[in-house]
């Protein structure tokens, strides 16, 4: 099955190509856009990025598999990134992650249709630990008791990461 970028994405990619001496630097942006449009980076999505930017499939594959935000399998609509790194751990980050895990019935790394649950490394919100990141929205100073309300909010108002791609 061959995929195609939307007209809007094609325009964005073309505009970005003007900002660099070659097309290769646009690969991260194109992968973000492909993930936004197709939900995940299938082999076909990687091929599309390759043909769009005149890059070999192997190169695109290498890049896509290096960075943690890119996913090769379908995921949930909202990715819930729960930081458990040192500052968050010291103030209960693992308890928050466990609560998300129990409420969503997802182990970290797993997805449902609505959510992907991710145990995240430091998200630069240490002064408000424990911190949870969902797209452009931060949940700060989170306690396990707040987790149910956060999930309800995200069900009402999903935060797909592609909104800024």
């Amino acid at each position: 099955m061959s995929l195609e970028f939307s007209a809007e994405s094609k325009k964005k990619i073309a505009a970005l190509c003007e900002r660099y001496p070659t097309k290769r630097p646009v690969v991260l942006a194109a992968l973000h856009l492909a993930q936004k449009e197709f939900g995940h980076l299938s082999d076909d999505a990687l091929r599309l990025v390759g043909t769009t930017l005149d890059l070999p499939y192997a190169h695109v594959y290498g890049v896509a598999t290096f960075y943690t935000m890119f996913r090769r399998e379908p995921g949930g609509r909202t990715t819930i990134r729960v930081c458990t790194n040192i500052s968050c751990m010291l103030r209960g980050g693992y308890e928050v992650l466990d609560e998300f895990s129990a409420k969503l019935k997802l182990a970290p790394g797993e997805s449902s249709k609505s959510f992907s649950l991710v145990e995240e490394e430091c998200i630069a919100a240490c002064a408000n630990a424990p911190a949870v990141l969902c797209g452009t929205k931060y949940f700060l100073d989170v306690t396990p008791a707040q987790v149910a309300a956060i999930i309800a909010e995200l069900e009402r108002e999903p935060r797909p990461e592609g909104e800024v791609a």
């Binding site: 660099y20 690969v27 991260l28 973000h32 960075y67 890119f70 040192i86 490394e121 240490c126």
Partner: protein, 445 residues
């Protein structure tokens, strides 16, 4: 000209002011006036002011910004300025706030710096996870273009400057400047061998200066009031103020702009309301998890680049009890001011568990290029985990130290050191905690 006090706010002056985030609001507060002033100066005069200011890199290394700029070859045809906005060092949360609250100050600082460096095509490399901040800075850049602060012939000066915001996609290593450049070029974010240093051969093979967000945001103030004024704000060879991010077991965690040279004890007790629950600080990470920790007795040291490296009140890191770690040429490792991320752990903290979590991070983020780091960070995580879980084996502490020592200094980039130093540092200063964990495992240390 005087030392900064706790009310001196430069880069954080507009925190909490929603209006200042817009171009109109920023201009109303005097925004882009320093760019006007700079464009009437000679580029080399700006560079000289920055040199005189004793501005030091706020990303972690504390290298003198003016000196770094001076490495660009005079006959360079094309130069790039890249802002490192890949903030990911655990415990560090200042650049994210700075971008969010004052995006135009970053743009203004970059255009001025680009003018001083004669750099035409410039980039902000922003961490992929910072989606909210990406939206903020991308909008600011767009506004600046529309108003003629970016683009061709800026404010009629003839200077052409372009700024592109480049999103990462999740990789701590891309905060390392050569990994960042590779990522910007559309490659996997793996560090390059140095030399050549980026100032000689960086982005697209051209001389490139990579500066941290906070560093660049200080430049307009230097143009405004002069390098000597900025230098006088701080002690010794460290000019200006410092953004400190305090997290962990304090009553008032936060991101604070403070005088350079405030001590850890003053920071914790006076600024952050003391350690929570009436407890005592046990361990303090001074500037991001890559830096060796301090003990309660070492907290009277000023938070200043040189002091953290040389103050004799800080016990040097050892590879075994009584055997100092040699950084090369007999140089001892005490600690470093790093990224400004101060993590406070109280006296109830499970130190081996905290160290396991720190090691797990480095194992996750190792780019895999160098064997000592790729394998060693994984081994340290595994061994630290079993020690923390009271499943340790006899000799595990020596094993941890020997793996760390095998990584330090033997990798292309500093990520290896960043994992090894805290491992050795915690073992040096909190050995009884590890010994107790081993005893609980039924294994004698």
């Amino acid at each position: 000209m005087a030392l900064a006090d706790r009310n001196t706010k430069l880069v954080s002056a507009k925190f909490g002011n929603e209006d200042a985030k817009t171009l109109a609001g920023y201009e109303k507060l005097g925004g882009y006036q320093m760019l006007r002033k700079a464009l009437a100066m000679r580029p080399e005069d700006i560079a000289n002011e920055v040199k005189a200011s004793n501005l030091r890199g706020r990303g972690g290394a504390g290298f003198a910004t003016g000196v770094k700029w001076g490495f660009v070859p005079k006959d360079a045809k094309e130069v790039h300025l890249v802002c490192n906005a890949d903030e990911s060092e655990p415990g560090t949360c200042k650049d994210r706030e700075l971008i969010y609250w004052d995006p135009h100050l970053l743009v203004e600082g970059m255009v001025i710096s680009a003018f001083a460096l004669k750099a035409k095509h410039n980039y902000i490399y922003i961490r992929g996870e910072m989606m909210r901040e990406y939206a903020v800075i991308a909008k600011a850049v767009e506004e600046a273009y529309a108003r003629g602060y970016l683009g061709k012939n800026i404010l009629g000066s003839g200077f052409e400057c372009h700024l592109t915001v480049h999103r990462g996609a999740g990789a701590y290593i891309c905060g390392e400047e050569t990994a960042l450049l590779n990522s910007l070029e559309g490659l996997r974010g793996q560090p390059r061998l140095k030399p050549p240093f980026p100032a000689i051969k960086g982005l697209f093979g051209n001389p490139t200066i990579v500066n941290n967000v906070e560093t660049l945001m200080n430049v307009p103030f230097i143009v405004d009031k002069g390098g000597a004024w900025f230098a006088a704000l701080g002690p010794g060879r460290s000019g200006g103020t410092r953004m400190l991010c305090v997290s962990g077991h304090v009553n008032k965690p936060g991101v604070y702009e403070l005088p350079i040279g405030i001590t850890f004890r003053e920071l914790i007790d006076e600024v952050c309301g003391g350690v929570w629950k009436g407890r005592k600080a046990k361990a303090v990470i001074p500037g991001g998890t890559s830096m060796p920790p301090l003990t309660y007795d070492e907290l009277d040291v000023p938070i200043e680049f040189d002091a953290l490296m040389t103050d004799e009140r800080i016990k040097p890191v050892e590879i075994a009890p009584g055997v100092p770690f040699d950084m090369g040429g007999g140089r001892q490792l005490r600690s470093m001011a790093g990224s400004g991320g101060v993590v406070v752990m109280d006296d109830h903290t499970d130190i081996p568990k905290a160290v396991w979590r720190i090691m797990k991070f480095y194992a996750h983020e190792s780019c895999g290029q160098c064997t000592p780091c790729r394998e060693g960070t994984g081994w340290m995580t595994k061994v630290a985990k079993r020690v923390a879980d009271a499943q340790g084996k006899p000799g595990d502490l020596e094993l941890l130290a020997s793996i760390a020592h095998g990584i330090a200094g033997n990798t292309i980039c500093a990520l290896g050191d960043a994992a090894a130093w805290p491992m050795l540092g915690f073992l040096t200063k909190f050995r009884p905690d590890f010994e107790a964990a081993l005893a609980a495992s039924g294994a004698a240390a």
